[in-house]
Amino acid sequence: MNKLNGFLKECGGGWCRMKMATWELVWMVAGMALVTYVPRLIPFLLTKHVPLQPKVQQFLTYLPYAILGALIFPGILSSTGRLSSALAGMITAFVLAYLRVHLVLTVTFAVLIATVWP
């Protein structure tokens, strides 16, 4: 399942250790900082409101939901190293979030359940 490339040594079922060279990590951090900051900055630079095309707005509206969904699944299943505890934590998080429990408490309880679940 894991793709082998220049940076990856064979991974077992659990956590792998990365092998990115330092220069790559530097580029990564710099790149991440840039692509994160610029979108945050642009609205503060524009002096008048520039309306986005409706289709683009529509796309941007859906984007967060798609991204969050993709980020959660299937990654969460292998997050703790034990599928059963990952499932338990996942269900906990969904239930608490649905019950409008505060974010911090949701995360805390999900971690706790994932910790103690066999």
Partner: protein, 247 residues
């Protein structure tokens, strides 16, 4: 004298608003610091991520992807897409921010996160520089400090807890996603479709690419299928629904 009093009042207001965020950031930052170390990320890089990026979800993802062998380019691309939502949040804050000095606005822009956005939007009065910057700084300090603590002291945690922390990121995503989907069928559909397609894609391509592909294709598909389901207007844009339930 009046000006000083007003200034201090605003700073205090900001710190008050930032405290809940700071408290909330601590466990997540600790989890991040610890997970980064477990993945073999050097301490300076880890701290640099919290210092220069200041975006929790994407920092976690970067570490995960790096540990699975993704290239730095695909990581940056995914981080870009993941944090694009901050553009809309920034638009919202900027529309209510009173000061026009460039350097102040540049500072405020840096501190736009899901949590600071949600908290700032709850302020009924105009957003003044002392208040906003104090709020953001309080949250920021906690985030960076927590990262450092997690990195250096995370090993001291019991082994079971260390693996339990692995779910922190995903729990955070879930906690962000679920409240924002409430009552919006199209949003629910988008998320479910994305989960499905990502799971499918991941079987054949690296997970980082699968996420990017999903993040582009599914919204495109929905835009094509349901063009007028959800609209984004200044007052009604979806970022309001990405607010976390704050006390």
């Amino acid at each position: 004298m009046q000006k000083d009093i007003l200034f201090s009042k605003r700073v205090l207001d900001g710190i008050q608003g930032g405290l809940p965020i700071a408290i909330g950031y601590i466990p997540i930052a600790i989890a991040f610091g610890f997970l980064a170390k477990s993945a073999g990320m050097p301490v300076l890089v880890t701290i640099a991520l919290s210092v220069f990026v200041f975006a929790g979800a994407s920092q976690f993802i970067a570490v995960s992807m790096a540990a699975l062998g993704s290239s730095w380019g695909s990581i940056v691309l995914l981080v870009f897409m993941l944090n694009l939502r901050h553009l809309l949040m920034s638009m919202h804050i900027a529309s209510r921010f009173v000061d026009h000095r460039r350097w102040i606005r540049a500072l405020v822009a840096f501190g736009v996160t899901d949590e600071t956005y949600a908290m700032l939007m709850m302020r009924s009065r105009d957003l003044s520089p002392p208040m906003v910057l104090s709020l953001q700084f309080t949250a920021y300090i906690s985030w960076v400090a927590g990262t450092w603590v997690g990195y250096t002291l995370g090993d001291a945690l019991p082994e079971r807890l260390q693996s339990g922390l692995g779910i922190a990121l995903y729990a955070m995503f879930i906690a962000l996603l679920v409240p924002s989907i409430r009552g919006k069928r199209s949003a629910l559909m988008v998320s479910l479709l994305a989960m499905l397609s990502n799971t499918l894609f991941s079987r054949w391509i690296p997970s980082g690419l699968a996420i990017i592909l999903t993040a582009v294709l599914i919204p495109l598909l929905m835009t094509w299928l349901l063009p007028s389901e959800m609209t984004t207007s200044r007052e009604n844009d979806q970022v309001e629904n990405l607010e976390i339930d704050q006390p």
